[in-house]
Structures are given as structure tokens and as C-alpha cells.
């Protein structure tokens, strides 16, 4: 049973209160937090979880304001971006371990196409003043524009990968033809279609970008393997990159949260990338599959394009990726549809797109400015 003797309030702090602070919420938060740490007599850099309240503050504000290790801070509540689907598994596990509940429900629902589109969602992101004053006035204000710069730099460092990006789009679309629930079921795509599509943000064309989707996905976790067909979380970890509220000035652009979290998840699972049978990669854009295959340890840096072009990620390849069609062709439900597909694959209930004998699945998360996570899920039939 949980023990109330394990929770003590050891410090409190506050900023000055006024009618016109002239300071940012991040700055005020850091002042109050430092005062609480000082009151408790602890080094603020040893704080490993933050719970930002009130709506105008993000975990990143505390990481930057207090100099916390962005790779080590646990999210007490899942962050707003696309990394939440996997980090929510960590949150749910924490609740189950604490004995606070026996069943935990994770749900994502949105009218991402007809209602509040991605363009609206990203108005509330960490580092909002940077966006408003230093980025949006130049028209650099959508994920396609941000992440296309990463892709451009990669092409400079590792060579043109546009054909591999096309292959990512074609493979996931082909997979979606085996998934009647996919938005793009019955709508195959050819290389000629891909090449002829309109430009969104060079080098991204239409089919390099994920769908916008109305819908919902739910995942239920329990402390017991009910009904004997449960899928076990064998290892899961999440991290933010350096400069977690800003992409432009990160020292190394390829170092993302996944770079730090993947080795931890494998270690916890006591397996390596070579043991994984099927991968669910957060495919917000085609290049992000290339990027994350490398940072998750499936390919050395610079070599994912060749792996993809040689058929490695197709059904029947060495590591099938996104057999459901992914965010690119099944639908964009924040990656919680990736978790659901991993469960179907591990139960061997994926029908025509089943990866034969799948026992271990990896699911990645990617959100905001490069937060990243990896979960290793395991078939655990009774």
C-alpha cells in the first residue's frame, strides 16, 4: 500500500507579487523555484521532475531557468506535443506502481482536420515568445518549415536523401492498403504522384507530410495481465534534447531526446535494436523516419536512407516500419495509434499486415522541439 510517510513538503518559495512584473513567466518561475530549493537546502540541479501549473508555464521553462538536465527530467504529466503518446505510458506506469489505481486509461481525441488544426495546436508550445518575435514574422512558423531545415542540413552532411523520403511515403501508403481503418485505404500512391505533388516547405512536398485527422485512440493499462493477452511494457524512457525550447541554437541538430532515451529504454528492456521485430516510428514527416531510425539505434547516422531504399523497412524486410500506415497514411492521432498498432502486432491480430512472429515492438515519440521517447513492448501471451 502507498505510504503517506514518503511525501514531505521540504521547501517553499515565491517571486515578488505586483501588478506589472515586466518579466517573463519563465523568469518569475525560476525565481520562485530557486527560493524553494534554497529553503529546502537542496541543489536545484538535482530536481528530476517538475509540475508546471496555470497554463502559461512549460516544463522547458524550468529546465532552462534552473539549468536542469533536459535528458533527466521526468514529465509528471505528459507534455502537449507528439511525444506524449509514449510518455503517457511512463505516467500510467508510475500511477500503477504507486498503487493509486488498478486501471489507467490513456485517450487522445481531436478534430485535427475539421476543428483545431495543427496550426492552432502549436500556438501553445514551449518558448512561445521566441516563436512570436523571432520566427513567425519571417513565415517560419509551422512544423513543416522547422523540420525541413533539419532535413536540409542532413542532406548537406550526409547526401541527398529525397529518394529515400519518397520510399518512406510509398511504403507507408502501401501498408495502409492492408489496413481498412486507414484514412488512405483504397488510395494507393505512385512515385510519379509523389514527385508531382505540390511543395509545402522544400524539401517537403505534400506526401512528405503527415495527415490531419479527426478521431480518437484509447489505451488501457492494468497492474495485472487480464485475460492473458496483455502486452508488457518491457522498457520505456523519454528525454528532451539540449536547448529543449528551441531548435535553432541546439549545438548538434541530430541529437534529439530519442538519442538519449533509446539506450535507456533498451537497457531497461535488456534487449538491443537488433532484437526488435517491428518499429512504430513517429512519422510526422518522411525525413523524421530517417532521423529517428538512426537516433533509435536501428542504423548508424547517415545510413538510414540506404536501409530504407534496400527494402529494410517494408513488410517482409528486416525491420518493418509502421505497418498500419503511420501518421502519413493511417492518420495522425499523436502517435497513440502507433501504440495501438504495436499492441495489435504483438497479439498477432494485424491481419494482412501482420509481421510474422512479432514478439518485440519499438514505438518512438517525437514532439515539439525534439522531445523523444522509445518504448519496447513485448508479447506476453498466457
Amino acid at each position: 500500500m502507498p505510504n503517506d510517510d514518503c511525501s514531505w513538503i521540504v521547501g517553499v518559495g515565491q517571486s515578488g507579487f505586483s501588478r506589472l512584473s515586466g518579466r517573463s513567466p519563465a523568469d518569475l518561475a525560476a525565481e520562485a523555484a530557486l527560493a524553494a530549493a534554497q529553503d529546502a537546502g537542496v541543489d536545484p540541479k538535482t530536481i528530476r521532475a517538475v509540475i508546471p501549473l496555470g497554463g502559461s508555464l512549460f516544463t522547458e521553462d524550468l529546465i532552462c531557468g534552473l539549468g536542469l538536465d533536459p535528458g533527466a527530467v521526468t514529465d509528471a504529466t505528459p507534455p502537449p506535443g507528439g511525444n506524449a503518446a509514449v510518455t503517457s505510458l511512463i505516467t500510467a506506469r508510475t500511477v500503477l506502481r504507486a498503487g493509486a489505481a488498478d486501471l489507467v486509461l490513456i485517450v487522445l481525441a481531436r478534430n485535427g482536420a475539421s476543428g483545431a488544426r495543427i496550426q492552432d495546436r502549436i500556438r501553445s508550445l514551449p518558448g512561445r515568445p521566441f516563436r512570436e518575435f523571432l520566427e513567425q514574422p519571417y513565415g517560419w512558423s509551422r512544423p513543416a518549415e522547422w523540420y525541413s531545415m533539419l532535413c536540409r542540413r542532413y542532406m548537406h552532411d550526409h547526401g541527398d536523401c529525397k529518394r529515400a523520403m519518397a520510399e518512406v511515403a510509398l511504403v507507408t501508403r502501401s501498408n495502409a492498403q492492408l489496413n481498412p481503418a486507414a484514412m488512405m485505404y483504397g488510395r494507393p500512391l505512385t512515385l510519379a504522384d509523389y514527385n508531382a505533388a505540390r511543395w509545402i516547405a522544400d524539401p517537403y512536398q505534400l506526401y512528405d507530410c503527415c495527415l490531419e485527422t479527426d478521431g480518437a485512440v484509447a489505451v488501457l493499462l492494468s497492474s495485472q495481465n487480464r485475460y492473458g493477452r496483455g502486452v508488457r511494457i518491457r522498457g520505456v524512457a523519454s528525454a528532451r534534447p539540449q536547448s529543449p525550447d528551441d531548435l535553432t541554437n541546439r549545438a548538434n541538430w541530430y541529437d534529439i531526446g530519442l538519442t538519449a532515451s533509446a539506450p535507456r529504454a533498451y537497457e531497461a528492456a535488456a534487449v538491443g535494436p537488433a532484437d526488435i521485430n517491428v518499429a512504430l516510428i513517429y512519422d510526422c514527416f518522411t525525413f523524421e523516419v530517417i532521423h529517428q531510425l538512426e537516433e533509435a539505434g536501428f542504423c548508424p547516422r547517415g545510413q538510414a536512407p540506404q536501409f530504407i531504399l534496400s527494402g529494410g523497412t517494408a513488410l517482409g524486410g528486416r525491420l518493418p516500419v509502421n505497418p498500419h500506415g503511420g501518421l502519413l497514411s493511417e492518420g495522425h492521432l499523436g502517435g497513440l495509434n502507433h501504440v495501438a498498432e504495436a499492441v495489435r502486432q504483438l497479439r498477432h491480430e494485424a491481419g494482412a499486415r501482420q509481421v510474422a512472429g512479432a514478439r518485440l515492438a519499438a514505438v518512438t515519440g517525437w514532439g515539439d522541439w525534439g522531445d523523444g521517447s522509445l518504448a519496447v513492448l513485448e508479447r506476453k501471451a498466457a
Binding site: G22, R23, S24, A26, D27, A30, C64, G65, L66, G67, G127, P129, F130, E132, F133, L134, E135, P137, Y138, G139, W140, R142, E145, S148, M149, L150, R152, R153, H156, R198, W199, I200, A201, D202, S243, D246, T248, N249, A251, W253
Partner: protein, 133 residues
């Protein structure tokens, strides 16, 4: 749109940059405690955590780190190019701005040398525009 008061209210750490930009000068915050340049501006130094950040003028010259083309309509030139530029005088700092180029321009490449100047635009503060050096 956003005037000086709006900057002061929404992003007080940026005011030194905006007032220098009005004089067509690129100024960036450096930490008085550890000497490191910081960008984008925050209340605390990204290296040592000090709150003693002071704006210093630098030459607006640098190298293209990466670039993108926005194909979307907006209060900017169609197909405008945005570039992220590593600033010569401020190691580790990259400043985003427009780049005077058209898609397909052969000079448009990572590593291109550029110079910047501030221009009046659709917001109440000047925006930086990079040109090939």
C-alpha cells in the same frame, strides 16, 4: 501588431535586441559571468545560469547553417527563403532571418557567406534580411 511595449510585456529579454535593430545594429546577449553568447534570449544564461546577460553589438556577418522555403501565402514575398545563419562574432549563435534569394538560386547552399541588415516589415519592429556576401 507588436510595438515596443508589446515586446517589453511579452518578451522583456528581447528589448535590447529590438532597440539595437532600430539602429540597424545586430546586438546579442553575452553572459557577464561566463562569457558565453546566448540566443534566443532567456532570463538566465544557457551555460551557467547567471542572470547577468548584457547585449553587445556584433558584425551582422555569418554563414548559412540551413535554409527553408515557405510556400505559404503571408505578409512576406511569395516563396520567401528563411535562413539560419551562424554569426561570425558570436560562436554558437545562429540567427534566423529572410535570405534575399529565389528558390533555385545556385548560391543558395549551406555554407554560403551572408551579411545582414534590418528592414522595415509587417510588424512594428525591424526584421533581419540576409544577403549573399
Amino acid at each position: 501588431m507588436s510595438g515596443p511595449d508589446a515586446v517589453q510585456l511579452a518578451y522583456p529579454e528581447l528589448t535590447g535586441y529590438i532597440s539595437a535593430a532600430r539602429e540597424n545594429i545586430l546586438a546579442l546577449p553575452a553572459c557577464a559571468a561566463c562569457g558565453q553568447w546566448n540566443w534566443p534570449p532567456r532570463a538566465h544564461c544557457r551555460t551557467c545560469g547567471s542572470a547577468r546577460l548584457h547585449y553587445r553589438p556584433v558584425r551582422s556577418a555569418g554563414t548559412v547553417y540551413s535554409w527553408a522555403v515557405s510556400r505559404r501565402q503571408g505578409p512576406w514575398a511569395p516563396d520567401s527563403v528563411t535562413a539560419l545563419v551562424s554569426v561570425d562574432d558570436a560562436p554558437g549563435v545562429r540567427v534566423l532571418g529572410w535570405l534575399r534569394a529565389r528558390p533555385g538560386d545556385t548560391r543558395l547552399a549551406v555554407g554560403a557567406r551572408v551579411r545582414g541588415q534590418f528592414v522595415e516589415a509587417h510588424v512594428d519592429f525591424p526584421l533581419i534580411q540576409w544577403s549573399f556576401a
